[in-house]
């Protein structure tokens, strides 16, 4: 009895959000259309409550629950707090967008909360099946969210594509897991590692399993050569959903990779390092070069995401404690940048106007210097120009890769970053150097403007003082992995 109570307390944030998602679904039945704002409030309160629970139950030690299939460590807590924060921003940024497009419904909020639970389980899973279940919960919620706007053919197509390719990736992941299970006789992360350390196994089978696992992970991350779905889904989904897909799930995917590769299969480090290296280099090349040719802002950001994933993989492939810390720092920075970037698109959109073409940004400096400045910060941050956060993100992963001896890969990444800078500069060119074609006033609600401003200025402020965020990442990784 004591044991179960202990288990439940460890998973309290997940349980809380799950219950609240149900409450929202039921409450939605009884609320009239103009009272739906209450649902929004309820969802935000849920995230706040979960943050409170996670924060107060936080302990720097590692706690296992549910017979070792679930773990509560520093990394999971930090990442969960980031997920709450990110999701809360997403809900805030997308509120008006949804209201104007008749998507402001209970389902949206329930599905978002379900996906949050999925991410949390991915972050805390200590068993391959737990991780897998978390991933599926996230993916299924996202498929449904993409198709939320039922009459939109483009969105439906994107959802279809996302679902088919996502299911394929899940299948590959499961297949890889089954091979590892066959070799080690366990699905538990810790046990797998113990088993691999204690006695020699047939390397070929393990590597075959590893290939499938890495391929499945790469699909979810959107790393080349498994990136095909990313641009189409980003472009097809309603911007509010793109914002969700592109941001916080990367935090969960990072944790997933740490659990699967670093905690379960550290004995195969030489093998997965090579795989990550190839994907990292390809992602940076394809992401950056293809982004140049885009005319749709969401598509361009999709390719930019692919290149960012390449940089994250640079940190991971270094396979050192520093490398993991810096990769985490990069993921967190990436999420903050992406939230602000898509936030601006949502801010500029209005009824019947998506603001997702590059040309829609023309002359923004004359329409609203403040918002143009915010976008300027986001773009320079994505390009990695100091004094913004993106600079330290790139700087740190490159340092980790150089430490691991990949001098020429680092030089290569740097050259690609220059190509990348070009398309970010083009956005700035549109905003600052061109005359506006559209003079309609910006009608975003005040709370969104304020928070978006804080979000973008944070990129600058953390860029000048990155020590705090870096310490948080060091704390999370060293407490969990040592």
């Amino acid at each position: 009895m004591e044991n179960i109570r202990f288990d439940l307390i460890t998973a309290l944030p997940e349980i809380f959000i799950l219950c609240m998602a149900m409450v929202i679904l039921i409450a939605d039945l009884f609320l009239k259309k103009n009272n739906r704002i209450a649902i929004y409030g309820l969802a935000q309160t849920t995230l706040l409550g979960a943050a409170y629970i996670t924060f107060t139950t936080h302990a720097p030690s590692v706690t296992y629950a549910f017979s070792g299939t679930f773990v509560d460590d520093a990394m999971s807590d930090v990442l969960k707090l980031m997920i709450y924060l990110g999701t809360s921003l997403i809900l805030l940024y997308s509120r008006q967008y949804l209201q104007l497009r008749d998507m402001f419904r209970g389902e949206f909020y329930a599905l978002v909360l379900f996906s949050v639970v999925g991410m949390m389980i991915m972050v805390s899973g200590q068993n391959m099946l737990t991780l897998y279940v978390g991933l599926e919960l996230l993916s299924l919620s996202l498929y449904a969210l993409v198709a939320l706007d039922r009459d939109n053919a483009k969105a439906t197509e994107a959802a279809m594509k996302y679902f088919v390719l996502g299911a394929l990736a899940s299948g590959m992941l499961l297949y890889g897991m089954s091979m590892v299970y066959g070799m080690t006789g366990s699905l538990n992360i810790t046990d797998i590692n113990m088993s691999l350390m204690s006695e020699p196994k047939i390397h070929t089978v393990l590597v075959l399993g590893l290939v499938f696992i890495v391929a499945g992970l790469a699909f979810k991350l959107g790393a080349v050569p498994f990136q095909m779905w990313v641009p189409d889904v980003y472009e097809g989904s309603p911007t509010a959903v793109t914002l969700l897909i592109s941001s916080v799930p990367k935090l969960a995917a990072f944790a997933f990779i740490i659990r699967m590769l670093v905690q379960a299969l550290p004995t195969l480090v030489g093998d997965w390092q090579q795989m990550l290296m190839i994907m990292a280099v390809l992602s940076i090349v394809i992401g950056n070069i293809t982004a140049i040719a885009q005319t749709n802002l969401k598509r361009m950001l999709a390719y930019s995401t692919i290149s960012h994933v390449g940089f994250i993989l640079y940190g991971l492939m270094s396979a050192s404690m520093n490398g993991f810390v810096y990769a985490m720092f990069y993921v967190v920075s990436y999420v903050l940048m992406t939230l602000a970037g898509f936030g601006i698109i949502l801010l500029l959109s209005r009824k019947g106007f998506e603001a997702d073409k590059l040309d829609d940004l023309k002359g923004l400096n004359q329409r609203s210097p403040w918002h143009a400045f915010l976008m300027l910060i986001v773009m320079f941050s994505m390009a990695g120009v100091p004094p913004t956060l993106g600079f330290y993100a790139k700087f740190s992963v490159l340092q980790a890769a150089l430490e691991a001896g990949y001098l020429w890969l680092v030089v290569f990444a740097v050259l690609m970053a220059v190509i990348g800078a070009f398309y970010y500069l083009r956005i700035i060119k549109l905003m600052y150097f061109d005359e506006p074609t559209d003079h309609s006033p910006i009608t975003a609600p005040l709370d969104m403007r304020i928070v978006l401003g804080v979000n973008a200025i944070a990129l600058l402020v953390i860029g000048m003082m990155p020590q705090g965020l870096m310490e948080l990442c060091i704390y999370a990784i060293t407490r969990s992995l040592s």
Partner: protein, 508 residues
């Protein structure tokens, strides 16, 4: 108890003031500016620029001329996770350039007074912020701090060229940004490599670390790509004429007067002391590139039809003297190079301002649009001829001092270097004076020239200030050379010392 208003406190943190006063006044301007009252904005910007200039003066008056090391040092641990410090300090090479920066910023603000009509606050703020960032580059003693300033400075310059520039401004500004970014990212890789060797990002630790020759060469080349683009050296100079032609007058002035010096300064601060053996090893190539810049680019300048382009090429040619002076490794050459940097700062700024004066009236930069300007604008013509003479290195002007010192230094090293370099005195005079002849002398060419009004008081003020500086430095360069002397001697002895690991030198 710290007394925040005492002179002592101020002097201890003078470099921070020099950096952050202009940056903060730029930000202040952005937030308080009223687009309908541009005059208030201009006065505010001028006050900010003047205060920023005054703040840098004590760097000269409180400088210890005997000490060749870093002075006015201050610092604290900035990002302990990477062992990055906020560490500032200056020596005799940096201070003249810092003074030049804050001085030029004031000039630029005054020069833009009536010329810039749209988005005045943003324009002024860009220059103020840029000024602070460039002073940061000159005074940073931590590699990453330096890098942050170096890169951040690109952002306002990118906007200045892109927003207030000419018709082809977008191409020019993106080319400028990407060229510089490419070079500086390779430098960043070199910094990280050095950090892994030394465990810190302190410039002084970098100066001390021993490195094998092949590593030194790679590091030197990484720095070279960053600084050669900035200076710019032949053959990576092609962004400069584009950027100059498209930039507004103020942008051209800052680019020519200061931004190019960032590259020259950085050679002395990073590339040469960190990899001295590679610098000696590759000095032949560096000298060859410098001579090509001096001779070939001067010939290119000769055939230009666009005044700004002509001055841009002349800048490249003059900066060739600077790099030549660096890589002949003697006292005269090095000091001459530094004098040349400062003098070129004044002369090129003045030349671009002169073109700006004409452009504001006629809206053409083509030489053929003018002729006989001296008839309608006699005062202006007098100034323009003075600066043209200085540009071609006439004795008595600052242009002569630096070039003469470098040529003397070059004779010490190798007669033929000096022989080739002295061609510039002929070519420089040729392209400058030919341009002066076509623009200012002769009959009044067309109706535009006929109705030209001579310079107003504002223009007279900036041009005469610059004229005084050019003549003062030309007649009496001693204050400048006194300042750099100790540092140059120390730097040369540092460069003469091999940094190869012990086993290496014994084996050779």
């Amino acid at each position: 108890m710290v007394d925040y208003f005492s002179l002592d406190y101020f002097l201890k943190h003078i470099l921070s003031f020099a950096i952050w006063v202009p940056v903060l006044s730029g930000i202040f301007l952005l937030f308080t500016a009223d687009e309908n009252k541009p005059d208030n904005t201009r006065w505010l910007a001028l006050i900010g620029g003047l205060i920023s200039f005054l703040v840098t003066i004590p760097l000269y008056t409180h400088f210890n001329f005997m000490d060749g090391g870093f002075q006015f040092q201050e610092g604290f641990s900035w990002i302990p996770a990477f062992n990055i410090n906020y560490h500032l300090g200056v020596d005799g090479i940096a201070i003249p350039l810092i003074l030049l920066t804050s001085f030029t910023t004031v000039i630029v603000i005054i020069a833009a007074w009536e010329v810039i009509e749209k988005r005045v606050a943003q324009y002024m703020a860009c220059f103020l912020i840029m000024s602070g960032l460039m002073i940061g580059v000159f005074s940073a003693l931590d590699a990453i701090l330096y890098y942050v300033f170096w890169e951040a400075m690109l952002i306002p310059m990118f906007l200045v060229i892109g927003i207030w520039g000419g018709p082809n401004r977008v191409y020019a500004t993106i080319k400028f940004f990407l060229y510089t970014l490419l070079g500086s990212l390779l430098m960043l890789v070199a910094f990280i490599y050095l950090h892994l060797q030394t465990g810190s990002f302190e410039v002084m630790d970098f100066h001390r670390v021993t490195l094998p020759l092949n590593v030194q060469i790679l590091i030197f080349l990484a720095f070279f790509t960053a600084f050669a683009v900035k200076i710019p050296m032949w053959p990576v100079h092609t962004w400069l004429p584009d950027a100059h032609v498209e930039a507004p007058t103020g942008g051209s002035v800052v680019l020519a007067a200061i931004a190019l010096k960032l590259g020259g300064y950085s050679f002395l601060r990073f590339a040469m002391p960190i990899a001295p053996d590679a610098a000696h090893h590759l000095s032949g190539y560096m000298i060859a590139l410098s001579l090509i810049a001096i001779v070939y680019i001067a010939l290119v300048a000769l055939v230009q039809k666009d005044m700004k382009k002509l001055i841009a090429y002349s800048s490249i040619s003059h900066m060739g003297f600077v790099t030549l002076g660096f890589f002949i490794f003697n006292n005269l050459g090095l000091e001459g190079a530094i004098v040349q940097m400062v003098s070129h700062g004044f002369i090129s700024a003045a030349m671009f301002l002169c073109v700006g004066v004409l452009y504001d009236r006629v809206h053409s930069r083509q030489i053929e649009s003018y002729g006989g300007v001296a008839n309608t604008m006699p005062t202006f013509a007098a100034f323009a001829v003075l600066f043209a003479m200085a540009n071609s290195g006439l004795p008595g002007t600052s242009g002569f001092v630096g070039e003469f010192m470098v040529i003397l230094g070059a004779i010490e090293a190798n007669f033929w270097y000096a022989f080739l370099a002295s061609f510039t005195l002929i070519f420089g005079a040729a392209y400058t004076l030919w341009m002066v002849k076509r623009v200012f002398y002769g009959e009044i060419a067309n109706s535009h020239v006929a109705v030209l009004k001579d310079i107003n008081k504002r223009e007279l003020l900036i041009l005469s200030t610059l004229a005084i500086m050019v003549l003062a430095l030309g007649v009496y360069p001693q204050p400048l050379t006194d300042m750099t002397n100790a540092t140059v001697t120390q730097l040369l002895s540092q460069l003469a010392q091999s940094k190869l690991p012990a086993s290496f030198t014994s084996g050779l």
